[in-house]
Point group: none
Chain length 212, copies 4
């Protein structure tokens, strides 16, 4: 079920040129440094100097691997998207019932946020800095959701509803709760009682009219 954009592209240099092993290492170092720096300072206050310093390479080296500051950012957002989706899918696959998979998926998402607060902030900046890629990001997560929702509806496990709308609602909840209780909160994860409240709301929202 994996689509083309799930595939991790082979790393290449700024002109699309192939890389030696050494080149791959440097590129990775730069990408990781960029991730950290963007997260800490935000897109605009992240500078190439800071990134190259963090990667321990000279300024010019940056441009051997990326065409511009914007380009690394874009790549980072796409990369993050792949990783979030992977994390969620991996977790939810372990559940045996539909509801359990739902819970595990959310848990997986919150854990991901807790582990990569850096990346979370990057996504949020994309609204201004790379709007197209942000939409792509949401679309992709949405598509994954829609699939599962359709199956569950067909099986009568959840009520009939427009799966696309529902998918955006679920994303919304995940993102906001993640921000409020993981990023801004004091604890490292969404507290159990809050999590239960959230899942309660979601389950009722998804339920066939008349049960829940």
């Amino acid at each position: 079920m994996s689509t083309t954009w799930d595939v991790d592209p082979a790393p290449s240099g700024a002109g699309g040129r192939a890389l030696t092993n050494r080149g791959v290492r440097t590129r990775t170092a730069l990408l990781e440094a960029a991730e950290a720096v963007f997260a800490e300072h935000g897109y605009h206050d992240a500078s190439i100097v800071k990134i190259t310093e963090a990667a321990k390479v000279a300024q010019g080296t940056f441009y051997l691997y990326f065409e511009s500051k914007q380009q690394v950012f874009d790549e980072l957002v796409r990369d993050l998207n792949r990783r979030v989706r992977h994390a969620m899918r991996e977790r939810s696959d372990q559940g045996s019932t539909r509801a359990e998979r739902e819970r595990l998926g959310f848990r997986g998402y919150f854990e991901f946020v807790a582990e990569h607060p850096a990346l979370y902030r990057i996504i949020r900046q994309a609204e201004i800095v790379a709007p197209d890629i942000l939409r792509e990001h949401y679309e992709r997560i949405s598509i994954g959701y829609v699939e599962g929702l359709r199956t569950a509806m067909a099986a009568g496990e959840i009520g009939e509803a427009d799966p696309e709308v529902v998918s955006w609602i679920l994303m919304a909840i995940g993102e906001m709760v993640g921000a409020r209780w993981v990023l801004w909160g004091e604890s490292d994860t969404v507290p159990d009682d809050v999590f239960d409240q959230v899942m309660g709301f979601v389950e009722r929202g998804l339920a066939t009219r008349g049960d829940a």
Copy 2:
């Protein structure tokens, strides 16, 4: 029930000094210009030059009324917060049943977004540029919600649940749906079928277990 931060503060100059009538006019012009410029270019690409040009004053004049670029931005976000809450409350007050008020509140929010897409973008930038004020923004909206939810729960109109968690869920849904169907969408408002789907989910989520 209005709290202190609901009150529109009397405008003052950069040093907190009182303003003449002329001063008030200039300040207002600058604030409006800033709003437009921040919305169009984003925080970082908005420059003082652009703002003062739009306000038709000299560059130096800016600093007679604001201490820094950051400060105008903060003020703008706070101002926007007041306006959104006002718009929502005004609308929902016109409903007679709880569910109707809920619907009207959401409608009000989406209309506000449609009319002020500019301001919506400003809020989103605040995540990076003025995180404290952004949290303040959400908290205030949350508090308004919580009030209403508590009353409704007491009246048995909706199910028992942690009203704070629910309030954040409602905000999440409003914001994401607003972005997806109003800002990025082709239409000027959330299409009726989508709106119904959203409200359906919300009503089920809020419902007492066993009804809906």
Copy 3:
């Protein structure tokens, strides 16, 4: 007979904005500094830092008055063009016979080169850096020549010939002799014997067939 491009344009800032007295002074300082720096280092090795240092202003100040390095250069070339033509015309106007005016014009040109070797080098660079403006430069000088040549032909003082072609020949000679004997030469001016040789060639070249 002065044309529009002979008129010295009122100095203005980068955005075309009007200048205060102080502004005019700074602009002039920058222009003079640019002239010196371009001449000494050539277009590419002339840097804004060097120019602003020479003008004793901060780097940013440069951009209050000029939009780019290229723009100052263009302006400088145009300015120089005005000055060369003025110098030549002024000198040649003092002559009483046609041949004398010819000699005085050349003398004026060589003197100008001797006094402004800086500007001479700037012109030469224009070939690469601002080719359109360079052609403009030659065209304007040519036009001035053509006028005088036509009159002289009508009066039978020189032979019939295409005045435009002749004008380019005269420019060519002036420029090359100026480079060879003034700029690269040891003396500060074209030695008398060389000058006489040059004028001899020119006079014969201009002469009506059969005399000289």
Copy 4:
């Protein structure tokens, strides 16, 4: 009559080391690439990357054959000088009378310019980039002229005059007319009427007083 600097020097590597066949091929490729790149972009905007890309070798390879960017440029100018002189001489040798040789020489020069506009631009840049070599360039052409002029004077074919001065005048005319009518002009060569005008001026200029 050929002098030492007419001899095409055996190609060698950066340290003056001898080259294998393969080395010679690489070096030639670089030189040709450099010619094209300098001509298209000008000295400063020509980069080693562009040159090595055009030559299809790696960046580092450049420095196996040349010590610096400047050095290739110098070599290119010298090479060009050889070729222009060769082209002119070859053409003028075909004439039977002195005047005919004169015409053919000019024609040859203009044709060369038309065929190698690229190289023409390189020469012009040398004024700033490699002034000494530019003077060398003119000197060499001048010397060739002087020879011929002296012979013609001795034979009474042209008037007595300082042959050096005359040679610079002739170069001046060739260069300017070439620029004006070949490079900037619409046609591929100097139009016949212009050419006749030019040669008329030159012949009169060279003539013994009293004839022409």
